[in-house]
C-alpha cells in the first residue's frame, strides 16, 4: 500500500532521530583498518600510500591491524602493489586476483570489494578521492548501506573508537566532522596530496590473504574499448608537481595566460588557474586549482593575479611556500601567502621569468655545483 499525500502520518523528530550510537550486534566484530590500493595500468596511485600513512595512525590508535586491498589481474603489477603496500606500512594484504579486473570497471570492482568487506569485516575502509575511488566508494557504500564521507582532509579516532572524518563543505568555507554511527564499515575517501606521504620502508612481505570472487565476463555490461593516456595529451599533473604557477583573473585576458605558462616552463613547473578562468573557458577544467579542482601540495606555489577566494585557499594551503602577486594589497590571498608582492602580475611576470632564466642558466648551474 502506498501512502497518499493527505494521509496523516507521524512526523519524525528531526534533529534527534538517528543521532544515538547503538551499533547492532552483527557489526560489533568489525575490526581493522583497510586501505584500498588503487592500481591503474600497472601503477599504484600515490594517494594509496598517503592513505596507508594515515591508516597506520588510525590502526595504532585502535590497536588493530592495517590492511591494503589489491584488486587486479594475476601478474606482476598486482604483486608489486602488494609489496608496495607492505613497504608503506600495511600489516596484511587482501588480494582478489581475476583477469576481469584488468581495467577499472565499476561492476566487477564493486562486486570484489563488497564481497571482501562482507567476508572479512573491516571497521574502517579508506579510498582515494580519485575518479576511480569516488566511483567505486559510492557503489560499495550504497551496496553495503553504510555511511561514506567524501573528500576528507583529516581523519581521527575519538575516545570511543569512532572514526571522526573532517571534510570541507560549502566550497571550503566551513569544515565539518562526520561520524558513521550505526553501520560498518565506516567509509571515507581522501583527496590526493592532502595527507603527507609516509616514509617508505624495506619491510618484508607480510601476510597475503587471497580471496576468490566468482565473476563472469558475460555479467559485466561495461566493456573498455580503449584508453588515451594524458602522457599523449596536454593534460596536467598538477596534483604531484613540486612547483606550480597559478594564474587568476588579474591576468586580464586569456592571451596573458602565456605569461604564467612561460614562467612555468622556465622553472620546470606545472601551471594551473583559479576557478573563474575555467568558467570563462580560458583553461581546461583539469588545470583548475581549488576546492572543486585539484588540491596541490608543491614546495613552491606562485599565484599570479589570484585574489584568493576560500575555494582556492583550500586547494593550495598545503604548499610549503606560497608567493602571491596581486595589485590589490587587501586581496585575501595575502592572508595565507607567505611572501607577497603588491604589483601588476601582467608586467611583473615577464621580469620574473627573465631573472629566473638568468639564474637558472647552465652557467649559474655550474656555479651551484661548485
Amino acid at each position: 500500500m502506498t501512502l497518499t499525500a493527505n494521509q496523516e502520518i507521524p512526523r519524525p523528530a528531526v534533529g534527534r532521530a538517528g543521532m544515538k550510537k547503538e551499533l547492532p550486534d552483527h557489526f560489533k566484530d568489525y575490526r581493522h583498518v583497510w586501505v584500498f590500493i588503487e592500481v591503474e595500468r600497472g601503477n599504484v596511485h600515490p594517494v594509496s600510500f598517503e592513505l596507508l600513512g594515515e591508516g597506520r595512525k588510525l590502526a595504532d590508535k585502535l590497536g588493530v591491524k592495517l590492511a591494503g586491498v589489491v584488486l587486479g589481474p594475476p601478474g606482476d603489477a598486482t604483486q608489486l602493489a602488494i609489496a608496495e603496500a607492505f613497504a608503506y606500512g600495511a600489516d596484511v594484504a587482501y588480494l582478489v586476483e581475476n583477469p576481469l579486473l584488468e581495467d577499472y570497471r565499476n561492476e566487477p570492482f564493486t562486486k570484489a570489494l563488497t564481497n571482501l568487506v562482507a567476508t572479512y569485516q573491516p571497521e574502517i575502509l579508506l579510498l582515494g578521492a580519485t575518479t576511480l575511488g569516488r566511483d567505486l566508494a559510492g557503489s560499495v557504500a550504497t551496496t553495503l548501506l553504510t555511511g561514506l564521507t567524501a573528500d576528507c582532509t583529516e581523519l581521527d579516532v575519538d575516545a570511543d573508537g569512532s572514526l571522526a572524518a573532517t571534510r570541507p563543505t560549502f566550497g571550503g568555507s566551513l569544515l565539518c566532522t562526520i561520524y558513521t554511527l550505526n553501520c560498518r564499515p565506516q567509509m571515507a575517501t581522501v583527496r590526493p596530496r592532502v595527507m603527507a606521504m609516509p616514509q617508505r620502508t624495506n619491510k618484508p612481505i607480510g601476510c597475503v590473504i587471497q580471496h576468490g570472487v566468482l565473476m563472469v565476463e558475460e555479467e559485466i555490461v561495461t566493456k573498455v574499448l580503449g584508453f588515451i593516456s594524458d602522457v599523449q595529451s596536454t593534460n596536467s599533473n598538477l596534483a604531484y608537481a613540486d612547483v606550480v604557477v597559478g594564474g587568476g583573473l588579474g591576468l586580464g585576458t586569456s592571451e596573458n595566460l602565456k605569461l604564467a605558462k612561460n614562467l612555468a616552463r622556465v622553472i620546470g613547473a606545472e601551471y594551473g588557474c583559479s576557478r573563474p578562468l575555467v568558467q570563462k573557458g580560458w583553461m581546461p577544467a583539469d588545470r583548475q586549482i581549488g576546492q572543486t579542482g585539484k588540491t596541490i601540495r608543491p614546495k613552491l606555489y606562485i599565484a599570479a593575479g589570484i585574489s584568493g577566494a576560500i575555494q582556492h585557499r583550500v586547494g593550495v594551503e598545503g604548499a610549503d611556500l606560497i608567493v602571491a602577486i596581486n595589485t590589490d594589497p587587501n586581496a585575501p590571498i595575502f592572508d595565507f601567502a607567505h611572501v607577497g608582492v603588491v604589483t601588476d602580475a601582467i608586467r611583473f611576470l615577464p621580469a620574473l621569468t627573465d631573472v629566473f632564466t638568468q639564474r637558472l642558466s647552465p652557467h649559474s648551474r655550474d656555479k651551484l655545483a661548485n
Partner: protein, 283 residues
Amino acid sequence: MHVVVCIKQVPDSAQIRVHPVTNTIMRQGVPTIINPYDLFALEEALRLRDVHGGEVTVLTMGPPMAEDSLRKALTYGADRAVLLTDRYFAGSDTLATSFALSQAIAKIGETFGAPDIVFTGKQTIDGDTAQVGPGIAKRLDLLQLTYVSKICSLDLDAREIKVDRRSEGGTQMLHGRLPCLITMLEGTNEIRRGSLDDALRAARSQIVKWSAGDAGIEDLSKCGLRGSPTVVKRVFAPTVRTEKAEQITTTDKALGDLADELIVEIFARQPALEHELAFDASA
C-alpha cells in the same frame, strides 16, 4: 526516448559568508542557483532529445522553494519537472538522498515511461561528494558511467551507448547498455539559451509535486536523518593563519630588481629548491 535529469538547488557558494562569531553559514540574502555541474547534464540530455526525440524530465529533491530551479530548467527546454518534497527528507545524507531519488525515479518510470538514461552532474558545489549519482545507480541497478566527458554514440534500437570517461591520467572509452546512469563532467558543453516558447511554456507549466507517499516510499526509516548513517557532529570555520604574507616593498624599484629580490627571498626560505629548479629547467 525518456531521459531523467537530477538537479539540485544550491546556494551560490561564491556568495556564501560564514558568521564570524557563530561559525554558521549565513544564508540570508544568498541567491540560489541550479548546481552548475547539473547544467552540463541537463544540456546533454536536451541534446540527446533533440537528436533522438522523446522527453526530458527534471527531478529535484528539496524544500518547496526548489520549484524555482525546476522552472528554470523548464525554460532551458526540459519537458517536465518533478519536485520531491517532504519534511521526512530533512537531514538526508547521500545514502538517504539516493534512496529517495531512486524511489522517485522509479515512480517517474511508472507514471511517464521508464527512463533510458538518468543524468546527474559530476557533483554539487555545496556538498561536493559525487556520491548521489553512484548511489542512485546502485539502488536502481543501473549501469553507472561517471565523469563522462562525451557521449560518443547512442543506439536506441540496440540499447547501446559509447562514452568517453575521464579517469586518472587519461580518458577511458567505454561501451555500455541502456538503461544507465551518467554523471556528466563539467565543461563538456554549454547550456543553451531557452527559446521564448520554452519560457512561456515554463511559466504556464504545472510542476509535479510529490511527497514521500506520492513517490511510493513506504519505508520512511530509510529517509531523512533516520535513514542517514552519517551524522555531522561538528561544524567549524577553518583555522586562519594570523600572520599575513611578508610584503616585498615595491616602491621605486625596477621590475627586474623586484624580481631579483623575490627570487632571493624564495631561495632563502627554500634553499634546496634552487638546485631542483636548475635541474628541472635543464631537463
